[in-house]
Amino acid sequence: MPSLAGLFFWMNIKLENIKKLNVKKPLKLDCGKTISNFPLAYETYGKLNKNKDNAILVFHALTGDQYVTGTNPITNKEGWWITAVGPGKAIDTNKYFIICANVIGGCMGSLGPRNINPKTNQPYGLDFPVITIKDMVRAQESLLDHLGIKKLLCATGGSMGGMQLLQFCATFPDKTFSAIPIACSSSHSAQNIALNELARQAIMADPVWENGKYVLKNVQPKNGLAVARMVGHISYLSEKGMQEKFGRKLQEKADYEFSFNADFQVESYLRHQGYAFVERFDANSVLYITRAMDYFDLSKQFKGGLIEAFKNQETKFLVISFSSDWLYTTKDNKDIVIALNASGADVSYSEIATDKGHDSFLLDEPEFLKTLKGFIDSMYEKFKNEKRI
């Protein structure tokens, strides 16, 4: 295995080949600071048709990136939503033009804490401004102008992607014909914040982290970051799903070792997930992105609360939740539906029955994928007709 420094060197070389838009227009962030002339990394799949009415924008989740499907050129692994996006899949790349951008604060080519701060000529680290979901969304809006898309056929995203989507619809009410927020929430609950704080504390407790200055030494606080990822992973599964998958099964051994090695399969799984993650993600990015999620409370931005946020919506919504998701529960998702209903928006809602927890939106869940496909295809027919009239 290459050394971590070498790995980062390798990553930096490859990062040069990422598709990027240089956003010239200054963007005033919620924290008061302004960024301009910044890179926004993105990827597209499929072809934009002549009428430009087949574009679908995907917002990625906390640890996602712009490589939705196919092979991620940086990690050489499958795109994170390959179950749903691709030729002949629910979001069909033969039919639709799919766009996904890396969020600002991330580490896959968009402006983030690993970028060079022009003022110091050194990586930002903790000098990077604290960003919000709204900042992420406003940064991505410039991509639509760049691609020449006035109105999207659909925008979608799960988890933090769903939060970005709700923000996108509230901030730009006429930019998409339809929207599918999946397994998300309109504001982070105490439990959500607590879990994120656990992840952050794990990173900050790692001595290698050094107040975010590890980037200067080209190292990574991998122990802390791996623990942060393990916390996340537990919250993405359901109790029942975990029990069924691992139970008390031992990891390639007949009996207990009477040690602190990974005796149980579930331990081995978590360790693997944790240490695989440090090879593709930046610790400071986790701090910034989880912070953005914690600050998210859409109702706080509008005087009349969530109902006001969705007022005058022409967008047609489909909200989807998963029965065993305890991170962003059915109730969290239903609250969005209730607000959309109360504001008179066109909204559908489906709760998919599954044991797979929050992760369900990334998995091959036939009922979920069928619902997704049915909605997008029917919306495409409507959008085409509306444009013709």
Binding site: N341, G344, S348, Y349, S378, M379
Partner: protein, 197 residues
């Protein structure tokens, strides 16, 4: 019953806002949207029905009418439709009150327990009636509160719920039901459709 949907469609003015509670696979919603340009919404419990509605491009919310009507604001629809499900609720009166709160008017249809075939089954065979409109047996029926057209008529009177129109349906025949012909229509209608509120 297709005739029922036809009667309901005829009761509704064009270009209105309608909520179909227990909308099934969306057949009635499709009809209303196509024939009358009605802005339809559905509420449905069954996942595969919800999926079918979504495939047809019909807005539908997956949920239970007994417990989840509170999410709809007061008077937010011109009409609310409840087709042949009132008798299946634990608390039909509470549901009916909620429907009247959400809709300016409400259309409720019921399988008529006063229909002569139902009456004779019980009278001559001494068994709980099983008919086309009431296909289940006593132990597996979802119907907890069976009533007759006359029962619902009297209920509305008692509870001071304004009855705008009542239509009786028997096979292909439909007829208007008033106080004067209630007894006879209660005997010969398979289905009662009430426009109230």
């Amino acid at each position: 019953m297709k005739k029922e949907f036809k009667v309901i469609a005829d009761l509704l003015p064009s270009n209105t806002r309608v909520l179909d509670v227990g909308c099934g696979d969306g057949s009635l919603m499709s009809l209303l949207r196509k024939e009358k340009n009605i802005n339809v919404r559905g509420l449905e419990l069954n996942q595969s029905n919800v999926q079918q509605c979504i495939h047809k491009g019909l807005p539908v919310i997956q949920g239970n009418a007994e417990t989840e009507l509170h999410q709809f604001p007061d008077q937010s629809f011109d009409y609310v439709i409840l087709s042949q499900t009132l008798q299946a609720f634990y608390e039909p009166e509470k549901v009916l009150r909620d429907l009247l709160r959400i809709g300016k008017s409400v259309i409720v249809s019921i399988p008529n327990f006063g229909y002569w075939k139902v009456r004779t089954k019980l009278l001559f065979f001494g068994k709980m009636p099983v008919t086309k409109t009431l296909p289940n047996t006593w132990y597996n029926t979802p119907n907890l509160h069976m009533c007759t057209i006359k029962d619902l008529f009297n209920f509305c009177d008692e509870k001071k719920i304004n009855i705008k129109k009542v239509v009786g349906v028997n096979e292909d025949k439909i007829s208007s039901i008033k106080k004067g012909n209630l007894e006879i229509k209660n005997l010969f209608s398979k289905l009662g459709i009430f426009l109230i509120g």
